[in-house]
Subunit: 346 residues, 2 copies
């Protein structure tokens, strides 16, 4: 059977079935969240995530400088730790390196990785570097938290508000700008001058994403503990579906409330596409999507997060419904990026 027949989530279910139920009383969360969680002592849990980034699948070296790649590889994993409401502490890096990658390029990669690690208080523990046919990166990040402060994908309750940090769809808008600029460069040759200024926000969001560690620190200071949380790597629609299904609640999202940066909206319109589609399905935002008890809403900093919807009792199935700006409802099917087919996942 081909993996494309069952998709990434189908494959995860198969792996899960092979592994069975782990017999480890220290394990608080195994497969099925942004990161796994295990108790290390009475006061402390550790949170671990691993993500691979592979050339031609996750990135294109022709518009991804190695220093940005190093930074992004760490950031996307740190974001998974932050999405568990944990503090990232340690990282390991495995690099598979093809012949055309020089020593200087690897140094640039680690320069970027170190900058990010310094910014988030993460120590790189080392790892492994070996030959490979395509540039392959696997990063593991370990974080820590008090066990009762870890926030999972499950846990949303009817009546909770659905909130998101930052803005949505901009990393995808940045990708589309970079792809278009590459075509223009090929057509126009050396004389081509890309318009960077008009797209600075969206390009930066694609090349140098941010993990929202400052936001969860702020939540802790405001004594807010979200009921459920996830980071947006595959797209809002996909992640809202995760929170809905894991929490056994349905979600209503309001198109009018989606935080979309003016540059994102501009790019979508230039391409004759919908800014809302970018926000729902673009992915790689690395914003936090979370379920908030309504009584905590007044404590939320409106400059840092937006209430975009709410959770309700589910019917037979937990569903995500988008209320369009004209008031019409639309059922949303998750359609994140499929890392096997290169198309949309089921």
């Amino acid at each position: 059977m081909n993996i494309s027949d069952i998709g990434e989530f189908g494959l995860i279910d198969r792996i899960d079935a092979v592994l069975g139920e782990p017999a480890n009383s220290d394990l608080l969360m195994g497969i099925g969240d942004d990161a796994a969680v295990y108790r290390v002592d009475e006061q402390k849990a550790h949170v671990v995530t691993t993500d691979g980034l592979i050339e031609g699948v996750h990135f294109d070296l022709s518009f991804m400088p190695m220093e940005h790649l190093g930074a992004k590889s760490l950031t996307v994993n740190i974001s998974d730790i932050v999405a568990m409401n944990a503090r990232p502490r340690y990282a390991t890096v495995m690099l598979g390196v093809p012949g055309y990658v020089s020593v200087e390029m690897i140094e640039d990669f680690y320069r970027g990785a170190k900058k990010v690690c310094d910014a988030y208080g993460v120590t790189i523990l080392g790892g492994d570097t070996t030959g490979a046919r395509q540039l392959t990166i696997s990063v593991t990040v370990i974080g820590e938290a008090e066990p009762e402060k870890v926030v999972y994908r499950r846990g949303a309750q009817p009546g909770d508000l659905l909130c998101v940090t930052g803005d949505l769809g901009s990393a995808y808008a940045g990708l589309r700008v970079l792809l278009r600029q590459r075509v223009e460069l090929q057509e126009q040759g050396e004389s081509y001058q890309p318009n960077i200024a008009a797209y600075r926000h969206v390009i930066n969001r694609n090349l140098t994403p941010t993990a929202r560690l400052g936001f969860i620190t702020g939540l802790a200071e405001a004594k807010i503990l979200p009921h459920a949380m996830i980071d947006i790597s595959d797209g809002l629609a996909s992640e809202a579906n995760h929170l809905a299904r894991k929490g056994g609640c349905s979600v209503t999202l309001h198109e009018a409330k989606l935080p979309i940066h003016p540059q994102t909206a501009n790019v979508a319109r230039e391409l004759d596409e919908s800014p809302t589609h970018f926000a729902l399905n673009g992915g790689e935002d690395y914003e936090l999507l979370f379920a908030l008890a309504p009584e905590d809403a007044p404590k939320l900093d409106p400059g840092k997060a937006t209430v975009i919807g709410s959770f309700e009792e589910a019917g037979d199935v937990a569903e995500v419904t988008l209320i369009r700006e004209d008031g019409s409802p639309e059922l949303l099917v998750a359609s994140g990026w499929d890392h096997f087919g290169g198309g949309e996942a089921g």
Copy 2:
């Protein structure tokens, strides 16, 4: 600059220079040992290692069934944890999967991984599976130990004995048998009947290596704490050099004492090569090489480990000398496997 100009160890030094001295008082060991070590509380340290295995570099699917590959990927990382005198607890797995790998093959991989994890008390926390051009595996294993019981590569003292578990060179002998059988299969076609029985030990040592967790448990029961330890992945000569340089001691090895299995010696002779060369440079043994205080020697189980040499005060440089069976000394230069060039590393 090409990586092959400076080699794997040169590259590690470059990466180390970019990362600089980590500012983290919980870090007990960063880059430069079998695994990194950090303190999690007063009584507990965690030990972390990451290793990549890449198709065509570390393994050949034509004689490595996926279930064995899953088992081996976990075992080699577990061995790194054991070499720190720590107990392996958790693992994450990143798989980069090309189109010709089926769902069933991935299930087989995880079946092998799980068998090993169950045997060593390790819980698989999950990981990431994504597309790739060649089968790529990155495994991270996390172990635990009392901070003062962790054994590093450094620490050997003049007068210590050099000891090794199991036997040496057999995994490499197994590789040579498998390579020869492949040639014979190509020449003789379908009628070819490989002689498995005569080479069972060496083939098993290559395809299904063992991490010596039972041995370190035995050491603890015998109240033996080695002064320094490493697992043999690149070959005895290379690892003895690590213990010598890190400990600032020279090492004398006795050819007559090297534990070599009769099948290993047979394979070497069949190929007109030296069994001692197999033992010194074969690699992938995953045996433990350790420095033992001489007063602990009587407590060592002679069925499980062999004294093969001793540590002395170093001159200007820490050196490894092999005393040949005829009594002549020979300076050993580390020559482990180079994962970039595919040849011998400098």
